[in-house]
């Protein structure tokens, strides 16, 4: 067990999977770049060579088909996109093709391919470099969808994703790359499916996705100071969805807040609410709540972006309202001096 950043944990995951299996291939625009794809691929080209850690043309749809084809023929490729937005060019290959190939050929083919995408945020990424569209993939049978929120899962889920016989969408959040945490050394898998209980509590279930787990944990801390014990669930896997894990927690707490840095309408936060309320054995003490993005594209101006993203404040507010406590005045106001558009204080741009 050592202390690694989330970015280093991803790299560790790549390294373990590549050592284990000669057929694992990393590919993507700028994968062998000197900055190492936010540090997630540094050193891998040196260790595994240019044939296994390779750049590609700027052709997202075609290259998605190429890695799908390679995966049908003995290779285990990981296709990397610097931004999820770029992968939108490849929806046909990911969703109409990769997701369906096992089913429509009656189980005769396997497509062990990983589509890795980085979710952008902040520093003026704006409307076309920070679209959080993980819910789209969660909608599609045939795919599995993971969004780790801690370094340990970042590595374990990457190894599992690469070793899984199915097409996997692996989404890492730009604001998690610098986050440090304990990571087991060597090869291990994190099972694709079960959610992670990030914090035990009995009064309210906060279900969060990706980076929002951090905000949820901060909210829980503040709620604890007010005598409310929140249980924080890290929904690290959207598909398959751990419905049982969700229900188990909500049956205990009787309260539900779904937190997703994404749009609400027909998104994963809606699914979380739906799957809980349609369960006849679960009884909620209050109407469930969603904490999500406002229903508009990402503005670029830091002034607007600061208001755009939901924070621990919003989670605290939602929970307090359930308990009939009104929020403190100014609770949602932005704190002067805090730069809400930076992934970490050391960041100075440009990307």
């Amino acid at each position: 067990m050592s202390e690694l950043s989330y970015a280093e944990a991803i790299r560790d995951g790549f390294r373990e999977a590549m050592r284990q299996d000669q057929s694992v291939l990393l590919i993507g625009l700028g994968i062998p770049d000197p900055k190492g794809f936010f540090g997630t691929t540094s050193g891998l080209r040196e260790e595994f060579g240019g044939d296994r850690v390779m750049d590609m043309p700027c052709s997202e749809n075609g290259m998605t088909g190429v890695v799908l084809g390679a995966s049908l023929n003995g290779i285990r490729p990981v296709l990397n996109h610097q931004r999820l937005d770029f992968a939108l060019l490849a929806m046909d290959q990911m969703c109409t093709q990769a997701a369906n190939w096992s089913y429509m050929f009656g189980g005769q083919v396997h497509a062990p391919v990983v589509f890795r995408m980085i979710l952008g945020r902040g520093w003026g990424q704006g409307p076309q470099h920070s679209q959080a569209l993980h819910s789209w993939f969660a909608h599609v049978p045939g795919l599995k969808v993971v969004l780790p929120s801690c370094p340990q899962d970042a590595k374990g889920l990457m190894i599992s994703a690469i070793e899984d016989p199915n097409p996997i969408v692996y989404i890492d959040h730009r604001w998690l790359h610098h986050v440090r945490g304990p990571v087991p050394s060597g090869h291990y898998r994190t099972e694709i499916g079960p959610l992670r209980v990030a914090l035990l509590g009995k009064d309210v279930t906060i279900v969060a996705i990706s980076y929002m787990v951090l905000e949820a944990l901060e909210a829980a801390e503040r709620l604890a100071a007010q005598g409310i014990e929140a249980e924080v669930l890290d929904l690290r896997c959207l598909r398959p969805l751990d419905r049982e894990g969700l229900l188990r927690s909500v049956r205990k707490t009787g309260r539900l807040v779904a937190v997703d840095q994404a749009w609400a309408c027909a998104g994963m936060s809606a699914e979380i609410l739906a799957c809980v309320v349609e369960d006849p054995q679960t009884c909620l003490k209050n109407p469930p709540r969603r904490v999500t993005l406002p229903d508009c594209p990402t503005p670029t101006s830091p002034a607007l972006a600061a208001e755009f993203y939901p924070r621990a404040d919003h989670i605290v507010e939602a929970v307090l309202e359930m308990f009939g406590r009104s929020r403190e005045p100014g609770e949602l106001a932005l704190q002067p001096g805090i730069e809400y558009d930076k992934p970490n204080p050391a960041f100075t741009g440009p990307f």
Partner: protein
Amino acid sequence: MLRIRLVEEAIADAYPRQEMRCPVHLSIGQEAVAAGTAAALARADLAMSGHRSHAHYLAKGGDLRAMIAELMGRQDGCCRGRGGSMHLIDRSVGFMGAVPIVGSTIPIAVGLAFAEKLRGQTRVTAAFLGEAATEEGVFHESANFASLHRLPVLFVCENNLYSVYSPMAVRQPAHREVFEVASAHGIPACQVDGNDPEAVFNQVVAARRHVRSGQGPFFLELKTYRWREHCGPGFDNHIGYRKEAEFLDWKKRDPLENYSRKLISAGLLTEEGVHELSEKISAEIAEAMAFGRKSPFPRGLADFVYSIQP
């Protein structure tokens, strides 16, 4: 060719009985492309195709019974009933799949070839496509990548002048040929009479030699013509999107008729030989139809969504 023709005609005949409940795109008139190409490929070579894939599947050696059963939506179909006519596969003969989204198997086929190269294998992959597929951006992305890495892939483009009811004139500029676009990606390319099986065969032999020698992809444009309606068993010249005269012109260039006449006059085949062969094939088809009809309908709606084998 004869086998493909007879199978397609048998499908057309059977179709109105509504036991093949899926869209079918027949290759009648275009048989020489499939036959000539596949004859020049090795059994171990790989192939992928699109919506109009019966001929390619059969020529590559795909199981006829499994294909008919698939069209009938049966458990013994080549996709176990999950795919239908537009999704054929027979891995045992290297026919690695077909899908009906125009252009979408092109990069996947290039990916097969990429894997071959990465693993130091020497099999050639044939990517069958219609001329409309070259209008999809993904064709160009695939061609660029194949050219860049000199991948062992053979693009086999059947130019039958139409995409559904749309003629070339509303889709591609008049002042350039399809194969020239491929060659601009640095891929050797040429045009062949797609109704002449020998010409196709000879050109594919040469192209395959080029590809196998590690020099990278090759692109073949094969001019041909679809006789029947775009999708379905009938004829549709009467609805007006193309001229009867054009059809009749192309009918004169019937690959099957002309080639058998050629073989007969060369003394390599006899009328009786053709007749005998037809009988044999017809029996085989009848048997395949019976096989399909006897095969049970599949069960297990949600099987195969995910692979479990690691």
